[in-house]
Amino acid sequence: MVLKPVFLVFAGAALALTGFDVLSQPAQGARDGSCIEAVSYLPLDPAQVGRDSQGMAALGTYERISPDGRFVLRSFSGAQLGQVALIELPSEPNGRMTVRKTPLSNEAFPVQGSWRYLVDVDGSHYRFSDIVRQQQVARPLFKGGMKGFYAAASELDRVQSPDPSLIWIRSMSWPQGGRAGQGTGPLQVRTLGLRDDARGVEVVHDSGPQFICRSREVIDGNVYTLPMLSVDGLAFSAIPINPRWGKPSMRVYGLAQGALVPVHPCDLRWDLQATPGKAVFGFATDQPAMLTYTDNASVYFVDPRPALKGQVFRIEDWRTQVLASAFPGLTRDGRIVFGATWKDCRPDGTCTGQAGYVVADPYQNPDYRQQLQYLGLQAPKICISPADVLRERQHFATQHGLAP
């Protein structure tokens, strides 16, 4: 392992402090039921999603995690290339996983924050609950917002909108149309104000595509890649690949607070000084949102509080040869969920390859805990409890009219 000067991964015992038995905390919490498992593994039945030549599921690398961690929108590889499944994870590690087909394609995306709608790459918005119930025969409600590859969308806080009675959705992608606009700005955002009632969905406001970040060209150049919008729609992460200063690195930039503000600041909030896979945002609370990403088939998370900047924490492996196979997501209660392959090994040394999902509680990560203690910082919570998970699942189910 190479330690980079700014981005340090803390080895488990490197900063062990007396009086705080870090490693016993998660086990104790899991044993007495006050915390979920620090890391759990949910194998996926390949028969449900198709097998590759090694008998494992032929899944894609693109995936999005619902706010309650119950649903995963995931692309396929192999014979089902271009199709998208909605995978329902069980509430318990030994529970059954359900795979639903969808009418969506390629890297279809959710409206983050609520998952009120799932959006196909042509801009067709489907009600999430329609896809849960009707699967492939679900019909879109309307077309709008940004479309195309690497698009993402988020529901904005209605308080910052001109009409709080509406649903406000901001989406982001590459500039679209004739591409005459690359010189006008490297990315575009578009904000819709929607009225959604029993009669259907009406697009009441549409900002139209807005070029952003033109002002950053003298520093970042004019091409960003791997863009990802934050859950609250007020920031995005991306790598400027032709920087005029320095080297390419994953960075976080600010967007306008107001729903229909025509100019976005693109102010640099953070430079991860690394080039991982897509950096995905968690939910902001009274603390800024965590970020999570894959790097070299491992999953990392970062806590953006200023005292912790420059530090990154790796999700522990509790199984053999754990390799992240898709990019991760963060639930509202803070769990990190990602697709992976691993091996289950018996004491006699025989191992079985598995593909499925890993669910991790970053608050129980020993390195993170030790570093917080070392810096005298409060953890947002000691751990994620089963009650937290249940609460999120119930909240999400109620929001979408689903059985918990």
Partner: protein, 193 residues
């Protein structure tokens, strides 16, 4: 944090190749506006390095005309846009004078590759241009975090800043030529490395 297998951002001394430089001048002159050449950051051309013997064998095989810039594209069916956008991006690069070498992710079983290429969604009409990489080259893919991933080389020189993902033609051309300009600049200023 692990170091990438590609040795990103590791500058090393380039080998001057006057012929490559002269033959490339025409292409760079029309493809890049003067303002872009003026704005080429030092970090970009200082990052240029000589390819290792393994990289040459694995990535630029068969050997190519040293005077022609090469785009090395790494592709996987597990990132769906790798396949759906590959033909367009390859043709866009060839149209502005690049040779494109496209490599299949060797970590993906061949059966999965075949199934993906034969799937109804696949838009590939030129699979002959997609090459299998020898098993001994698999180590090169260790640090790859996103696919497709593309590199630009000229002769034995490699620009180690990847172009991650797919993008519209205008951005793609700009990303390629940013690197090619840096490769040429590095050939002119080898002593400053």
């Amino acid at each position: 944090m692990r170091e990438s297998a590609w040795g990103f951002f590791t500058p090393s001394s380039p080998m001057p190749r006057l012929f490559s430089l002269l033959s490339g001048i025409f292409l760079s002159a029309w493809a890049w506006p003067a303002s872009a050449q003026d704005g080429l950051p030092e970090a970009s051309w200082r990052a240029v390095r000589v390819m290792t013997a393994e990289e040459k064998v694995c990535l630029v095989s068969p050997p190519t005309d040293a005077s022609k810039p090469v785009v090395i594209m790494l592709l996987s069916p597990r990132m769906v846009y790798s396949l759906l956008e590959w033909s367009r991006m390859r043709q866009a690069a060839e149209a502005i004078g690049y040779r494109v070498l496209s490599w299949k992710d060797p970590r993906v079983p061949e059966e999965e590759w075949r199934a993906a290429l034969a799937s109804p969604a696949s838009t590939l009409n030129d699979p002959y241009a997609l090459h299998a990489m020898p098993a001994r080259c698999q180590w090169l893919w260790r640090g790859v975090n996103h696919l497709p991933m593309s590199f630009v080389s000229l002769g034995s020189q490699l620009h180690p800043w990847p172009v991650w993902g797919v993008m519209p033609d205008e951005a793609w051309r700009e990303a390629l030529q940013f690197r090619w300009l840096a490769l040429q600049r590095a050939l002119v200023h080898p002593s400053r490395h």
